[in-house]
C-alpha cells in the first residue's frame, strides 16, 4: 500500500515536473480512442486489413498526436502521405494532377487518396486494391469517364480483362505518379518507346520509315503510333472498326496526306527489307545494294591503297 502510494506520488511528481517544464507530450490517443467516435465513419476491419493496418491513426493524422483535449477541433491538418512516401510525393508534385490541384486550384483534381483510397489503401499487387492493374481503368475512369469508354472498346482493355499480364492499362503509358499532359510534342515522341516496350519489332520497323526517322530525332511533325492506330481505342487491323483496317486506311492516311487513294495506302508503314514475303521488291533492292555498296568500296579501297603504297615508293 505504501509502496503503491509512494510510486503514485513519484509518478505524479514526475508528470507535474515535466508539465511545469513545458516538455510533456500528452499521451497520443490509441486507435481504439479514435474509433470510439469515428467507428461509424472508419471501418476498423477494413483499416486493419489495409496495408497501413499496423499503423496508428495519429501516424497519418499527425496533428492529433500532440492534442490533449478531446473532442478535437473540426478542422484538422491534411494527411501528408509524402512524409513517409517521399519519392512518390515528389513525383506526384511534378505531375499534371498536382499542378491542377495545387497551382491551378482545380478542386476535383486527384491527390493520393482519390486513387489509392483512404483507410482501405492496399498494395497494387493486391487484387482488391484500387490501383491493381486490372482495376486502374476503373479508378481513372471515375474522372476520365469518356476516355474509359474509349479504352473499353479497344484491344488492350479486352486483353486486360482476360488477365493477360502485359496488356497495358492507363498507368503503363501515362505512368502512375508523373502523369503529364498528353498533347505535348515531348509526350507524343516518348509514347513511341512505350508502345515499343511491348511491340519492339513493330517500332523497329517503324524506325526504318520517314515517319520513324523524323520522330526519332525529336520532331513531331509526322505520324507516330497513335496518329494511325489511335490512343485508347486501339483495335486489330483485322477489325473493320480499326483506323488501320482496309476499310478506313484511305481516310486515316488522308488525314495528313490529302488526296490519298487506294494505291497510296499500299504503302507499308512497318517495312522489313529482310522479309521476302512482306515485299519482294524491297528484298531485292536490299540484296542489290548489299552487293553494290561493299563491292564499290572494296574495289576502290584496294585500288586507292595500292596506289598510295606504290606512289609513295616513287614512280
Amino acid at each position: 500500500m505504501w509502496i503503491r502510494l509512494g510510486s503514485f506520488a513519484a509518478a505524479a511528481w514526475f508528470v507535474a515536473g515535466q508539465a511545469a517544464a513545458g516538455q510533456s507530450p500528452p499521451k497520443p490517443p490509441a486507435n481504439e480512442d479514435c474509433l470510439a467516435c469515428h467507428g461509424e465513419h472508419v471501418d476498423a476491419k477494413q483499416f486493419e486489413a489495409s496495408t497501413h493496418g499496423p499503423m496508428a491513426c495519429v501516424d497519418c493524422h499527425a496533428d492529433l498526436a500532440a492534442i490533449a483535449e478531446f473532442p478535437h477541433a473540426d478542422k484538422l491538418a491534411k494527411v501528408k502521405c509524402a512524409s513517409c512516401h517521399h519519392d512518390i510525393g515528389s513525383k506526384y508534385h511534378d505531375s499534371i494532377h498536382a499542378f491542377a490541384k495545387e497551382k491551378a486550384g482545380l478542386v476535383v483534381a486527384p491527390a493520393c487518396a482519390d486513387c489509392h483510397g483512404k483507410h482501405d489503401v492496399r498494395p497494387h499487387a493486391d487484387p482488391e486494391s484500387r490501383v491493381f492493374r486490372a482495376k486502374i481503368p476503373g479508378t481513372c475512369g471515375r474522372c476520365h469517364a469518356g476516355i474509359k469508354e474509349q479504352y473499353d472498346r479497344g484491344v488492350h482493355a479486352a486483353r486486360l480483362k482476360i488477365g493477360e499480364a502485359p496488356a497495358p492499362s492507363c498507368a503503363d503509358c501515362h505512368t502512375a505518379h508523373t502523369i503529364q499532359r498528353a498533347d505535348t510534342e515531348k509526350w507524343r515522341l516518348a509514347a513511341t518507346a512505350e508502345c515499343g516496350s511491348c511491340h519492339a519489332q513493330v517500332v523497329e520497323s517503324f524506325r526504318r520509315t520517314f515517319h520513324g526517322k523524323v520522330t526519332e530525332i525529336g520532331f513531331s511533325a509526322v505520324a507516330t503510333c497513335a496518329y494511325c492506330h489511335g490512343a485508347h481505342d486501339i483495335l486489330s487491323a483485322a477489325n473493320s472498326g480499326s483506323r488501320v483496317s482496309k476499310a478506313q486506311l484511305v481516310e486515316t492516311c488522308g488525314r495528313c496526306h490529302a488526296g490519298a487513294n487506294e494505291r497510296f495506302v499500299e504503302y507499308d508503314p512497318h517495312p522489313n527489307p529482310s522479309d521476302y514475303t512482306r515485299s519482294a521488291v524491297l528484298w531485292w533492292a536490299n540484296r542489290f545494294y548489299w552487293v553494290l555498296i561493299p563491292g564499290c568500296f572494296g574495289f576502290f579501297a584496294l585500288h586507292g591503297a595500292l596506289w598510295f603504297w606504290r606512289g609513295r615508293k616513287g614512280l
Partner: protein
Amino acid sequence: MNYVRFDRKTRLLHGVVMITFLGLSATGMPLLFSDAPWARALAGLFLGFKGAGLVHRFMGASLLLAVACHIADVSWRAFVRGERGLFWGPTSMVPQPKDVRDFVAMTKWFAGRGSQPALEHFAYWEKFDYWAVLWGTAIMGAAGLILWFPVFASRMLPGWMFNVALFVHGAEASLAIGFIFAVHFFNGHLRPGKFPMDLVIFTGTVSATELQRERRAEFDRLRAARALEQIAAPSPALVRRGYIVGTIGVSLGLALIALIVYAMIR
C-alpha cells in the same frame, strides 16, 4: 605553257554538283543516321527538320536541273551541232577498250611490273566518277521525287514503291556520300602526285608538264595532230579562290565522313 582541260560550263556544272551534294548530304544525313547522337544537332543547323527538308528539296531540285541542263547540252552538241567523238573515241566519257587496257596496266604497276599507263583525256576512274554521279542522280532524283510528291506518285505507282524509294534513296546516299567524300577526294585531291589539291576543276587549265606526265596519250595525240595550240590557255586564274573553295569543300566532306564513322563505330 598551259592548256585548257575543262571549259567554263563543265566547271560551273561541277560547282553546282559540289555545293548541292554537300548540302544534300548535310541535310539528309540526320534522317539517314537518325539513331546517331549528332543527328538532331545536324538538323538543328538548318533550323530543325523542316528547315533541313526545305534545303534538301531546294538542293535536290537544283542538282536535277543542273544535270538536266548537262544532258540537254550534250544532246545539243551531239545531235544539233553534230560534234563527233562525244559518244566514242579518245575524249569520250563512254568506256573504251583502252580503259580496260589502262586498268590492267595500272594493276600491273601496282604489283611493281611495268609503268603507269599513258592516259587519255578521261582516266577510267574519272569515267567511273562521272557515271556514278549520273546514275546516282537519276536513281536518287526519281526516288526523291516520289517521296516529295507521294500522293501524285500514287496515281502511277503502288504505295509500296514509297518503301522501295525510301530504301533506295538511303542506300544510294550511303554509296554516294562514301564514294564522293572518300574515293573521289582521294583520286582527285589526296592521292600521291595530287596532294593536297588538284585545282584543275576550278582553274580549268593544266600545265604542259602536268599534261605530259599525267595524260601522255592525250598529249602525244594532240601534238601529233598539231592541235595543242588550239587549247593553249593563259596562266591559270582563280588559283587562290580555288584553294579556298576546294579546302572548304574537302573539309566539310571529310567532317561528314567523320560523323558517319563515329556513328558506325560508336
